[in-house]
Symmetry: C2
Subunit: 88 residues, 2 copies
């Protein structure tokens, strides 16, 4: 397997894990139902994603940089929704 094929596998992973947050953001925005979401999860996740982003820059991996830039935004929105809607 050459390095192009390997990078394609990384990009498929990146696309799926990144895109997976969109239905969650959409559902939460639509329903304002955050009772089942764990605040420690999404805040830890967000901070972890910032480290992955830095790692991607340092090892020059486009898959990792792109995926984590978008996921950082999505997970930040979910933390914001959780804080905003949790008392409703």
């Amino acid at each position: 397997m050459n390095s192009n094929h390997i990078e394609i596998i990384g990009l498929i992973g990146a696309t799926l894990t990144t895109a997976s947050f969109l239905p969650q953001v959409y559902q939460t925005w639509k329903t304002k139902d955050v009772s089942g979401l764990s605040l420690p999860m999404f805040s830890m996740f967000f901070v972890g994603i910032l480290f992955w982003f830095a790692y991607g820059i340092l090892i020059n991996s486009l898959s990792i940089v792109l995926a984590n830039a978008i996921t950082a935004i999505s997970s930040f929105i979910l933390v914001y929704f959780k804080l905003k809607y949790r008392n409703k």
Copy 2:
């Protein structure tokens, strides 16, 4: 920054994003409240993680392999909980 320092940044990201699923799994297991969890999110996320796992093996990144092995298990459990408890 040498490659050991870079790998430490990756491992911090790996530890945080992996560990972040544990409070979610615990909360969902405890409360059986899955109404706010998006099934498309966690199923897409699970499949994406399997690609990241393969990518980690192919580029020989220990951070990526370890993190995604554990996250695959956690996200699979959340998909299972969502399917099991969604009609309760």
